[in-house]
C-alpha cells in the first residue's frame, strides 16, 4: 500500500466503514473481530460459522504467534494466511484483538485468466 498514512486515518475513523471496505473486495465471505480468548466482538458471518471460526482460528493464531515468538523473542506475528481448496483464511492480530477474514479465491481466478 502506497497510500499516505494521513489519508488512511482520516478515511477509516468509522469502524463500520472499514469493515465494509474490506468486505467489498471480491470473494470476501465475511469478517470476524474477536479477542484472543475467542470472544466475538463483531461478525458478519452467521452464528455457527462465527463460533467455529472465532474459536478455532484464534487457537491457531495463538499457536502461530507462539511459534514466531519462540523463533525470535523480539518478533511477533502480524498476519497469517491459510489457503484451503475452497477458502483463504486471513488473520491479523494485535495485542488485543484479532481480525479474521474469509475469502474465496476461486472467485478471483476468473480475473486471472
Amino acid at each position: 500500500m502506497s497510500l499516505p498514512k494521513d489519508s488512511i486515518t482520516k478515511d477509516y475513523t468509522d469502524v463500520e466503514a472499514t469493515l465494509s471496505r474490506i468486505t467489498s473486495h471480491t470473494g470476501v465471505q465475511g469478517i470476524v473481530i474477536a479477542t484472543h480468548e475467542g470472544s466475538v466482538i463483531r461478525s458478519t458471518l452467521d452464528n455457527i460459522q462465527t463460533q467455529q471460526i472465532s474459536t478455532l482460528v484464534t487457537q491457531l493464531a495463538a499457536r502461530g504467534k507462539s511459534v514466531v515468538r519462540d523463533l525470535d523473542p523480539e518478533d511477533d506475528l502480524t498476519f497469517l494466511r491459510i489457503r484451503s481448496r475452497k477458502n483463504e483464511i486471513m488473520v491479523a492480530e494485535t495485542k488485543q484483538y484479532l481480525l479474521i477474514t474469509i475469502q474465496n479465491p476461486n472467485e478471483l481466478q476468473k480475473g486471472w485468466i
Binding site: T13, T35, E93, T94, L108, W112
Partner: protein, 971 residues
C-alpha cells in the same frame, strides 16, 4: 470342589479308601429317607443290581487293582459301607468329575465281593423247598421280599430240622457249617435271581452275617460316620520321597550375577516437541484373542498325580480391564461475550486503532490475491506441458492384439462388436456371411452349413475364443445388458431377437480377467499376446491343436428367441438396451423408474419399424422363447407416406443424468464443471429419437403418435437427406447428448438435435465408403471413422475440422464395425482400446495413444463452443439466403420494369407493358428466365439488347461478389 485325587500309593490303599470318602456321592445317599428300613433295603438292592453293570466296568480297571481289592473283601465293614454309598450314587452319575480311579476302585471292590461266578466267603447257597420255606417262615415273596430279603433263623431250629429230616432236609448240605456256626441265629437270604445258583443262601460265618446285617443298621448313622471320617483327615508330617528335587529343578535361579544396565537420555530430548497426528484408533492396534488350535489339541488319556497332603489352595486371577480403542475428537465451548460488552468495545478507540493497523495488511493481501494466485504451483503446470510433449512422440493407434478364429470367423464379416461391460479385456463379436440378398436366396439352406455364432474373446488368449454363443440365424447386432452383463441380446437377420444367459460360464471369463490382472500391464506377458499381423495368431496354431482346444470352448445355446410371426419382418439392424432408469408405459410414454435397470430393448429393422421389447414379458426369461413379441411398434414411413424407410440404426436420447453415470465410468476424471452441467441439463425423458436409413435420410421422429385416430400419420418429424448412399452408422456423443455423428455413403455429418437446417459439420466426400463412426469416450472433440479401404481416421476437432488428424491403415478389407472402450484405472492400466472388426473376420484391437484419450483443459467447453458457433453459422447462412432471395426478386423485378419501360419508350407498344404485380407474383423467377424474358421483349432492338446485357452482367457480377462466389481477381 476341592476333590482330592485318590490314587494312593499301593501300600497306603486301605487307609485312603476308608479315610477319604468321596463327598460328591454322599449327598445322593443321604437324600434318601435315611431312617426307614426300606431305604436301607433299596440301597442294598441297588448295590446288588448294579453289580453286574459294575462288573463290566471292572474290566476297565487294571487287573492288579481288582486282585488287590478282592483281598480287601472282608477287611472291614466300614470300607464296605463307604463303598456301598459310593455305588449307590453311581447310577445317578452325580459326580462324573470325581476322581475316576477312586470310584472305579471302589466299584471293583464291590464287584469282586459279589462275583456271581461263585459265592463269597462265608456264604453258602442253599435250595429251600416250599415246604421248608413254610416251615421256617421264609416263603419267597411273602416272608422275604425284595425289600427285606433275609431272615434270621435260630440255630436250634435248623439243628432240630437237620435232626428230624436228616439227609432229606434242605439244610443238610450245610449241616457241618450250621453246626460250626458260633452264633445263636443264622441268616438266610432269599436269592430269587439265583445269583449263587440257588434260591437262598446261608451265611455260615459271623462276618458274612454281619456283612448283611450291620451295614443296614450302621447306615442309619451314615452321615455321622462320614462326618467322623472327615474329621479324621489330617495332613501327615511331610516325608521326603525325593519329589522336592523335581520341584527345585523347576525353580528359576540366577545362573550368573544380574546385569546392570543403565539407560540414559540426553537432556535436550526431554520435553521435546511431540508430533501428534491424526490416525484411526484401530491403526497400530493389535489384539491377541485366544483361540483353539486343533493342531495342538491333545486329549488327555490318563493322568497320574500324587499328593501326600493337600494344602489349602486359592485360585485367583487379575485381569486388567480391557478398553476398546476409540477415536476422540476435541470439543470446544465457544467463548461468549455479552452484547453490551461487544457494543462497548466496538465503540472504543481501541478497536479503531486496531483496525487502522490491521486494515493495511488486509488490503495488501486482498489486492495481491486479486492480482495473481500466489499459491499457484508452477511446477505442476510445467509438468502437464512436459507430459504432452513426451507423449507427442506416439500419436498413432497401435495394434495391440488381433483375434481371428479359423473355423468360425475367418472369411466372414464382423457385423457387431461389443465390449463386456465389467470384465476387463473381454469382448464379443458376431459374424455374418458376406453375401448379398440374391446370393442368400440362391444358397438357401445350404448357408446353414456354418453355425452362426457370437464369439467371446479375451485379451489373455488370442487364439481361442472363451465362449461361443449359438444363434439360430446370422446375428447382425447384439448388446450386453449393462446391468447384468451375463445377459446378451442379439438381433437376427430373420427379424427375431435372441437372448443368451452366460451366468454359468462367467467363471471362465473371470479367470481370464484374473490372469490379466496378474501382470503389471493389463495383458499377461504371453508371447502370443504380442501384437501381430491380422492372420498371425490364427494361422500359427496348428490344425490339430486348434481342434483339440475347440472342443473345450463351451457353446452356449440361446435361452429365448422371439416369436417369428410377431417379430420384425426384416433383418434387425440395431439393438439397444433402454437407459437404466427409463421405461416405457403402455402408450409408449417414457417413465422414470429409478429401481429398474435395463429391462427393455429397442430394435431397428430393415422393415421400417422400431420396436420396443420388454424382457419381463413373461415371468422367466426362458419362457419368452417363441412367444416374445414387442410391446410397442413404431412404423416409420416417409413424410408423404409414399414409402417405408429401411432403418439401419436407431438412437434414443439418454437422459443427461443417466449419461453422467456412464460417463463417470468411462472417463477417469470428469471435472467439476462437467458434472454441474450435466445436473443442470437433467430433464425429462424424451420420446424423440433419430433413425438412420438405407435411403440416406436421417430421420427425427417421435414414437408417441400424436393422434391415435390418424393411423397413417407419419411419426417422422423431420428427415434430412445429406448422405448419398445408405447410412451405416449413427452415434451420439457421450458428452453432448444432443450431438450425433451420422455416417454413410462417402461422408459423415455431425448433427445437433433440434437444429433442422442442416448438419453442423460435413466431411468432404471420401475416396471410399465410410462405414462406422464412433465418438471417443474420453475426449469430447475426438471421433473415429472407419472406411471401406480398411483405414481408420482420427478426427480431432480441437486440432482441425476439415481433415482427419491422422489416417491409418489397419486392415486389407473394410472395417465393418468399431467399438471403443475406455478402461478406468491408474496410469498404467488406464487404457483406451478400439475394437475394429473387418470384413475378413479379424478383430483388431487398437490401443489409443494417451494424447487422444486425455482431454485437454477446457476441451468440453471448447467443443461446445465450436458446435454453438456452427449452429449460429447455420442460422446466419439461412438468414443470408433468405435475404439474398428477397434481394434477387427485388432486382429482377426492377430489371423487368426497366426493360418494360424501355421497350415501351422505344416501341410504344402498350401490350408489352408488364404490370409490376405479375413480376412480383413470379417470385422464384430465375435470372435465366428473367434474361430470356427481357431478351424476348427487346427482340426488336439489338442496340438496346446489348446495353441491357451489359447492365445485367454488371449487376450479376456485383451479386456474385457479394455472395462471395466470385474470386475478386476475376474483375
Amino acid at each position: 470342589m476341592a476333590e482330592p485325587t485318590l490314587e494312593p500309593p499301593a501300600e497306603a490303599a486301605a487307609p485312603e479308601i476308608t479315610s477319604i470318602p468321596d463327598p460328591a456321592p454322599v449327598p445322593p445317599a443321604t437324600s434318601k429317607p435315611a431312617t426307614s428300613k426300606a431305604s436301607r433295603a433299596t440301597s442294598r438292592a441297588n448295590l446288588t443290581k448294579s453289580s453286574s453293570r459294575v462288573a463290566s466296568k471292572t474290566s476297565l480297571t487294571g487287573a492288579a487293582s481288582t486282585a488287590r481289592l478282592s483281598a480287601k473283601l472282608s477287611k472291614s465293614k466300614n470300607s464296605l459301607k463307604v463303598a456301598g454309598s459310593v455305588n449307590d450314587a453311581e447310577p445317578a452319575s452325580a459326580a462324573p468329575d470325581s476322581a475316576p480311579h477312586g470310584s472305579l476302585q471302589e466299584e471293583g471292590f464291590l464287584a469282586v465281593a459279589e462275583e456271581p461266578t461263585g459265592p463269597p466267603e462265608g456264604v453258602m447257597p442253599l435250595f429251600l423247598t416250599t415246604a421248608t420255606q413254610d416251615m421256617f417262615k421264609v416263603k419267597g415273596g411273602e416272608d422275604v421280599t425284595p425289600e427285606r430279603p433275609f431272615k434270621l433263623i435260630p440255630k436250634a431250629d435248623i439243628l432240630s430240622d437237620l435232626h428230624a429230616r436228616a439227609a432229606i432236609g434242605d439244610f443238610y448240605p450245610a449241616k457241618q457249617a450250621v453246626m460250626d456256626f458260633p452264633g445263636e441265629e443264622l441268616l438266610v437270604h432269599w436269592d430269587p435271581g439265583y445269583r449263587y445258583g440257588q434260591n437262598f443262601y446261608l451265611c455260615i460265618t459271623v462276618d458274612a452275617m454281619e456283612l448283611f446285617m450291620k451295614p443296614v443298621t450302621a447306615e442309619e448313622t451314615a452321615e455321622s460316620a462320614v462326618a467322623d471320617v472327615k474329621k479324621k483327615v489330617v495332613s501327615k508330617k511331610w516325608e521326603s520321597y525325593g519329589s522336592e528335587k523335581e520341584i527345585e529343578a523347576d525353580w528359576v535361579v540366577n545362573s550368573r550375577p544380574l546385569l546392570n544396565i543403565q539407560v540414559t537420555r540426553r537432556r535436550r530430548h526431554f520435553g521435546a516437541q511431540c508430533k501428534f497426528g491424526d490416525r484411526d484408533a484401530h491403526d497400530g492396534y493389535s489384539e491377541c484373542k485366544p483361540y483353539k488350535d486343533p493342531t495342538y489339541d491333545i486329549s488327555r488319556m490318563e493322568l497320574s498325580q500324587a499328593v501326600q497332603a493337600v494344602p489349602e489352595l486359592v485360585d485367583g486371577s487379575v485381569q486388567t480391564s480391557w478398553f476398546r480403542p476409540l477415536n476422540f475428537a476435541v470439543q470446544y465451548e465457544p467463548a461468549t461475550m455479552p452484547k453490551n460488552e461487544q457494543d462497548k468495545l466496538m465503540s472504543s478507540s481501541d478497536i479503531e486503532d486496531f483496525l487502522e493497523t490491521v486494515t493495511i495488511r488486509f488490503e495488501k493481501a486482498l489486492q495481491q490475491n486479486s492480482t495473481l494466485d500466489i499459491f499457484q504451483d508452477d511446477y505442476q503446470e510445467l509438468g502437464e506441458a512436459d507430459a504432452t510433449l513426451e507423449q507427442g512422440a506416439q500419436t498413432y493407434l497401435q495394434e495391440y492384439q488381433s483375434f481371428t478364429d479359423l473355423m468360425h470367423s475367418k472369411d466372414r464379416s464382423i457385423s457387431c462388436v461389443d465390449w463386456h461391460p465389467t470384465i476387463r479385456g473381454v469382448l464379443a463379436i458376431s459374424c455374418t456371411e458376406r453375401l448379398g440378398f440374391d446370393e442368400r436366396v440362391e444358397k438357401g439352406l445350404f448357408l446353414r452349413s456354418r453355425k452362426s455364432l457370437i464369439l467371446l474373446w479375451s485379451f489373455h488368449d488370442p487364439i481361442h475364443p472363451q465362449l461361443m454363443l449359438e444363434a439360430p440365424e446370422d446375428i447382425l447386432c447384439f448388446k450386453f445388458n449393462p446391468h447384468d452383463p451375463n445377459i446378451i441380446a442379439g438381433g437376427c437377420i430373420t427379424g427375431q431377437i435372441v437372448l443368451w444367459d452366460i451366468t454359468d460360464h462367467q467363471d471362465k471369463l473371470e479367470i481370464s480377467r484374473k490372469s490379466a490382472r496378474d501382470g503389471a500391464a493389463p495383458v499377461p506377458d504371453d508371447p502370443n499376446a504380442v501384437p501381430s499381423g491380422p492372420n498371425a495368431p490364427g494361422a500359427n496354431a496348428s490344425g490339430d491343436d486348434d481342434r483339440e482346444r475347440k472342443a473345450e470352448t463351451p457353446v452356449v445355446p440361446c435361452i429365448a428367441v422371439s416369436s417369428i410371426e410377431l417379430s420384425h419382418r426384416g433383418a434387425i439392424t440395431d439393438i439397444e438396451w433402454l437407459p437404466k432408469h427409463m421405461e416405457l408405459g403402455h402408450n409408449g410414454e417414457p417413465v422414470e423408474k429409478p429401481e429398474n435397470g435395463h429391462r427393455e430393448l429397442v430394435t431397428a429393422s430393415a422393415d421400417g419399424q422400431v420396436a420396443f421389447w420388454d424382457t419381463r414379458f413373461k415371468k422367466d426369461m426362458k419362457a419368452l422363447d417363441l412367444v416374445w413379441r414387442p410391446f410397442l411398434r413404431v412404423p416409420l414411413s416417409a413424410m408423404d407416406n409414399t414409402f417405408d424407410y429401411s432403418l439401419t440404426k436407431v438412437s434414443i436420447k439418454r437422459t443427461p443424468s443417466d449419461k453422467g453415470a456412464t460417463a463417470s465410468e468411462t472417463t477417469a476424471a470428469p471435472d467439476n464443471t462437467e458434472k454441474t452441467e450435466q445436473s443442470d441439463a437433467k430433464g425429462e425423458f424424451s420420446s424423440k429419437f433419430f433413425c438412420a436409413t438405407e435411403e440416406g435420410d436421417l430421420i427425427y421422429a417421435d414414437w408417441i403418435a400424436e393422434k391415435a385416430s390418424e393411423e397413417k400419420a407419419s411419426r417422422v418429424e423431420h428427415a434430412a437427406n445429406y448422405h448419398f448412399g445408405a447410412m451405416s452408422d449413427l452415434h451420439r456423443s457421450p458428452f453432448f447428448p444432443d450431438i450425433l455423428l451420422s455416417v454413410g455413403g462417402w461422408s459423415f455429418h455431425i448433427w445437433r438435435e433440434g437444429v433442422t437446417t442442416g448438419p453442423l459439420l460435413s466431411s468432404a466426400p471420401a475416396s471410399s465408403y465410410v462405414i462406422c463412426g464412433r465418438w471417443s469416450p474420453t475426449r469430447p472433440g475426438v471421433f473415429y471413422i472407419s472406411k471401406y479401404d480398411g483405414s481408420v481416421e482420427v478426427w480431432d476437432l480441437m486440432d482441425r475440422s476439415h481433415a482427419p488428424s491422422s489416417v491409418q491403415n489397419i486392415s486389407g478389407t473394410a472395417i465393418s464395425y468399431m467399438a471403443v472402450r475406455q478402461y478406468p484405472g491408474k496410469s498404467l492400466s488406464r487404457n483406451q482400446f478400439i475394437a475394429a472388426g473387418d470384413d475378413e473376420g479379424t478383430l483388431h484391437i487398437l490401443e489409443v495413444p494417451r494424447n487422444l484419450t486425455k482431454p485437454s483443459k477446457n476441451e468440453k467447453a471448447f467443443v461446445r463452443g465450436f458446435f454453438d458457433r456452427e449452429v449460429r453459422r447455420l442460422g446466419y447462412v439461412r438468414g443470408r439466403k433468405e435475404f439474398r432471395a428477397k434481394e434477387r426478386t427485388a432486382f429482377e423485378q426492377a430489371t423487368l420494369e426497366a426493360a418494360a419501360a424501355k421497350g415501351l419508350k422505344k416501341e410504344g407498344d402498350p401490350a408489352a407493358i408488364v404490370p409490376p404485380g405479375s413480376a412480383a407474383g413470379q417470385r422464384p423467377l430465375s435470372s435465366g428466365t428473367a434474361r430470356t424474358a427481357a431478351g424476348a421483349m427487346n427482340a426488336g432492338s439489338t442496340d438496346d439488347e446489348e446495353k441491357l446485357e451489359a447492365e445485367y452482367l454488371k449487376i450479376e457480377r456485383n451479386f456474385l461478389e457479394l455472395e462471395g462466389l466470385l474470386p475478386p481477381a476475376a474483375d
